[in-house]
């Protein structure tokens, strides 16, 4: 089953009123996927605590979603909200790049 990381109650809205909806595509419990999820958690807690939502999609369980979301690389992180949609690939170990990719920092 795909898991959804629920935001902490009472922290759904940020200072700017922004809600972050992130989706992480993985394919089974590979080291890269586990690392990506851990890295994502850390970054989210640090930069958008209380106003994010992470949905983890395991393509091995739901393969047709790979086509719908045009996923090639694993792991891939998709920022669904706020718009525009952005894609970040890799295990998210390069925090600087993740922040640039999420538009949290201008690189």
């Amino acid at each position: 089953m795909n898991t959804t990381e629920k935001p902490k109650p009472g922290a759904a809205q940020g200072a700017e009123g922004e809600a972050w909806k992130l989706r992480l595509y993985v394919a089974g419990q590979t080291p890269k996927c586990i690392a990506a999820f851990a890295n994502l958690k850390t970054i989210c807690e640090e930069h958008m605590a209380g106003k994010y939502q992470i949905e983890v999609i395991d393509l091995l369980k739901d393969p047709k979603l790979a086509r719908g979301d045009q996923i090639l690389a694993i792991p891939t992180l998709v920022r669904k909200l706020p718009e525009p949609v952005r894609k970040i690939i890799g295990d998210l170990s390069n925090t600087e790049r993740v922040l640039v990719g999420l538009d949290l920092r201008h690189g």
Binding site: Y25, A27, T30, K32, A35, A36, N39, L59, L60, P63, K64, A66, R67, Q70, I71, L72, A73, I74, P75, T76, L77, R86, K87, I88, I89, G90, D91, L92, S93, N94, R97, V98, V100, G101
Partner: protein
Amino acid sequence: MKTRDVLAKTRTGIAGLDEITNGGLPAGRPTLICGSAGCGKTLLAMEFLVRGATTYGEPGVFMAFEENEEELTRNVASLGFDLKALAAGKKLVLDHVRIEWSEIQETGAYDLEGLFVRLAYAIDSIGAKRVALDTVEALFAGLPNEAILRAELRRLFRWLKAKGVTAIITGERGEGTLTRHGLEEYVADCVIVLDHRVINQISTRRLRVVKYRGSLHGTNEYPFLIGESGISVLPITSMRLEHAAPTQRISTGVARLDAMFGGKGFFRGSSALISGCAGTGKTSLAAAFAAAACQRGERALYFAFEESSRQIMRNMLSVGIDLEPWVKRRRLEFHAARPNLQGLEMHLLAIHDRVQEAKPRVVIMDPITNLVSVGDQMEVRSMLTRLIDFFKSRQITALFTSLTSDDHAAEHSEVGVSSLMDTWILLRNLECGGERNRALYVLKSRGLAHSNQVREFMLSRAGINLVDVYTGGGAVLAGAARLAQEENEAVEAQLRRERMARLDREMARKRQVVEAQIAALRAGLEAEVEELKQSLVEEGMREAAAARGRRAMAGKRIADLEKRASDVRRRALTTR
């Protein structure tokens, strides 16, 4: 396939390709198709899948990295491939992989498992046996990490093999390498190169099997075309000389010409060439042949490369051949096109298509020389070889006309194609006495006793006629000169007859004269004889009187005169 051929093959269903590859692509393995832009890679991959789905019951997955589903569907609809229906029938999956690497931030280690998952899902959803990846090289564009991609591609091809699907991977032709990104490193079983060359402003596509591990394959470059029903590779070397040889004969449409072939015309299913320079009546002969075929109730196809069908019909009316009724009754079909409208291969395909559709017994190509403007002599020859083989395999009698530029070079310039022909009729211009006349002779006719005579070939309102030329006195005369010669001969003969009659009469006259003289002499003789007799009688009487006198005298003298008197009487009696 032979039993010792251990390599299993998957038929592509593409006309000609299976012959070249001796049975198809390696089954369960990836094949690389590479070539420059616009050479037909995508189409070949697509036809492989469509034929698999429709002809061989093997569903397929088409993963497109460049075009989206709609574009693909539209692009191949013109070839009669209905991708939507195939997809609806679970025979085909189209998957467009959209890549915008530039918008993607790379943040660490990754792999292309997503692609594998997609492909696996697509394959499993319809039980696909065939896969096309067009073209994975698009992944390289703006790729964040080429090392990862290369490793993943290597894994992809291994994975495809493990999956047991027969795959086509297309790749863009690179400089000095088969593909721009060296895909041939990974796909090593079978590599086919497509090429698209423009020679004399006319494009020709070619296909070559560069490598086929574990199998025999044709190594030549084969022209191929993209026609109305897909790709068609035309391997000349796979054609064998095994056509039947019917003994039935069909008329050439000109009675006197039939007579030159032993009275019955060409063999059915043979090929004939009529060559001659401009204005020698090639088209007229061809039209006569077509009309004769229609008259017999056969279908005829007329490929005109110089004149429009209307023009031919109008012009042929002037020599008494009315083709229009046959066209109306759909016995005769014209197919007029400029040679440089398309490449030779396209012409060949168009002819194939038309022949397959119309199923004629007789085909006319007028003139084949114009095709040289499209390709060089060798290409035309190769095309004609294939064409003749094609006609022969269908027992179609084919008539080709060929324009030669110069009367003297006629026999040389045609050697290229004439050796392919069973019958060769040469038309020539004879110039004498200030006028030009047409002459016809049969240069060769395989298996037929044919006349070796030069005939004058006459076109008139009444039709085509062949007349013996005047060949006396070491000269060949035709036209007015022949007529003048005939006139001369007629006068001479008349004079000769008169001279003989005169001699006859003179002889009779002479005989009369001589006979008259003989009569006169005889009359003279008789008169003389009579006179002599008279004088004899007189002499006798005188003698008798004298004897009487002497007797009287002797009586008086008593002498022996008795005996002498009787002697004189006897002498007088015998002279009478």
